[in-house]
């Protein structure tokens, strides 16, 4: 009887924690969504659905990217667990929160699909390709910069990463640094991007198929991937092992 009661309490605690985790993730979006609504209605600068579409896309980019980005702190002890015994790609792909994050990504993806169907926006394959090239370049560039910065600093503090996080936050969503919750306010930058979305040159660049851009993007991704991998195995790991992690 006692055992069952304790088990039940544990289950309730776990469920509450999970519920709060989901709510916490959603709260960033809810806050950002209201900001979109407010900016859209008070400034009349862009239609609400465009803002909402860009917002959910930026969330999706961020959350997908976050599955693959090397997280800070991994260079303290976690690298021993993940890094030294596993190949490079697994370091990037192994994150504890990945399964839970996938739920959020799925929800965001469904919202995006709903918005696309509701607003009868045709999915442009060229735009999708550009989207994924952009995400890949971003992830690889950040990882490379992070590795270089850590190698130079000889510690896991990465001043340049704060800058990257900021720029990233401005371009897509929030940074994880700063006063923690500042990540919400940078969501608003994706809202203001809605303003640029309505500019014809930007529209033309994003939606007019150009095979040259795709080819250049592919080559950039390949170069970045090879460089990062080479830097990791030939430079970074040696420094890491010399310093004993």
């Amino acid at each position: 009887m006692w055992y069952q009661e304790i088990k039940l309490k544990e289950l309730i605690e776990y469920k509450t924690a999970l519920f709060l985790w989901i709510l916490s993730n959603i709260s960033y979006f809810v806050v950002a969504f209201f900001a979109v609504v407010f900016v859209s209605t008070t400034t009349n600068a862009f239609p609400l659905e465009v803002g909402a579409l860009l917002l959910i896309t930026s969330y999706l980019i961020w959350d997908i990217a976050h599955l693959f980005i090397i997280s800070e702190g991994m260079f303290d002890n976690d690298l021993y667990i993940y890094g030294l015994t596993k190949p490079y790609k697994e370091i990037i792909f192994t994150l504890e929160s990945a399964p839970k994050k996938l739920i959020i990504i799925l929800v965001e993806f469904l919202i995006l699909l709903f918005l696309l169907v509701w607003k009868e926006i045709k999915i442009n394959l060229y735009f999708v390709a550009l989207f994924f090239i952009g995400v890949a370049v971003f992830i690889l560039l950040k990882n490379l910069l992070y590795l270089v910065s850590v190698s130079i600093n000889k510690s896991d503090t990465c001043p340049i990463c704060y800058l990257i996080d900021e720029v990233q936050g401005m371009l897509s969503k929030y940074p994880y640094t700063l006063f923690t919750s500042s990540r919400i306010f940078l969501v608003l930058l994706s809202i203001t991007m809605a303003n640029f979305y309505t500019y014809e040159p930007v529209k033309a660049l994003l939606f007019t198929p150009d095979i040259k851009i795709i080819a250049i993007g592919g080559i950039v991704v390949l170069i970045l991937y090879t460089t990062t991998k080479a830097y990791y195995s030939r430079v970074f790991l040696k420094i890491f092992e010399t310093y004993g992690g």
């Binding site: 605690e13 209201f34 407010f38 008070t42 400034t43 862009f46 900021e166 640094t177 919750s181 306010f185």
Partner: protein, 247 residues
């Protein structure tokens, strides 16, 4: 090189690293906000002066220097059972924490005063601001303590704290000035505690005595009263639960 010199170099590097990071955080925070407001500014039909947004960023940053994260200490005291150390003493825990936090914030408040004097050299407005600031700090303390007192019932408080902070940063106007909020939302927000720990600070500094309307005082007193009652009930219920579980 002598060991002592190495020691000095390591210590100096450590100190620079810490300060460097702090500066970067503050600088990039402001930079990000400036870019944000410039972008929003470019969208506006009725243009306010750019100075309005720049002063908004400065004031909101420097009047919020004291971080809400210090309230994690209260959560830790509840969860780790350290609260028992205070329960047997004549000095109440909440009073202790309040003054402890004030002690932590003194440096930030002095820095805030210096910054305000440099950027907004209006002694009357600054004096009025510092007269109402203690009451605003009380509201902030009450509100945050109410949120963290849920640690008596919930084991995993990290996410709850995140949710509360997200709401806080938005409703205080730290992300988006209240000028972007629709009129009916603003009318409600003006009476909520969030206005007093955020936007109204800016209002008092810019508009001085004109911002101290009867509504302002009604909200101030009303918020302190209501939050005190809620905190009193929650905290005592929480303490009973804490004691029944043996701390």
């Amino acid at each position: 090189m002598l060991k002592e010199v190495w020691g000095f170099v390591i210590g100096f590097k450590k100190s620079i690293e810490y300060k460097n990071l702090y500066l970067q955080w503050t600088f990039f925070y402001d930079l990000a906000l400036i870019i944000l407001y410039v972008m929003i500014y470019s969208m506006l039909d009725e243009k306010r002066s750019m100075w309005f947004y720049l002063s908004y960023i400065l004031i909101m940053t420097y009047t919020s220097l004291y971080s809400p994260w210090k309230f994690r200490d209260v959560i830790n005291d509840i969860k780790k059972g350290d609260l028992t150390q205070y329960l047997t003493k004549p000095f109440g825990y909440l009073a202790f924490r309040f003054f402890y936090f004030i002690g932590l914030d003194v440096r930030a408040i002095i820095f805030m005063l210096i910054t305000l004097l440099i950027f907004f050299p209006n002694p009357t407005n600054i004096a009025i601001f510092f007269l109402v600031l203690p009451w605003m700090i009380i509201i902030e303390f009450l509100l945050m303590t109410i949120i963290v007192s849920f640690a008596f019932w919930i084991y995993e408080t990290k996410h709850l704290f995140n949710i509360a902070n997200n709401i806080r940063w938005f409703l205080t106007g730290s992300i988006l000035p209240y000028t972007f909020f629709p009129e009916h939302v603003r009318n409600i927000l003006d009476f909520l505690p969030y206005a007093y720990i955020g936007y109204l600070r800016f209002d008092v500094l810019i508009n001085g005595i004109n911002s101290l309307t009867p509504n302002f005082f009604a909200g101030l007193i009303g918020n302190i009263l209501i939050l005190s009652i809620i905190l009193y009930i929650l905290w005592n219920k929480g303490l009973k639960r804490f004691e029944s579980q043996g701390g």
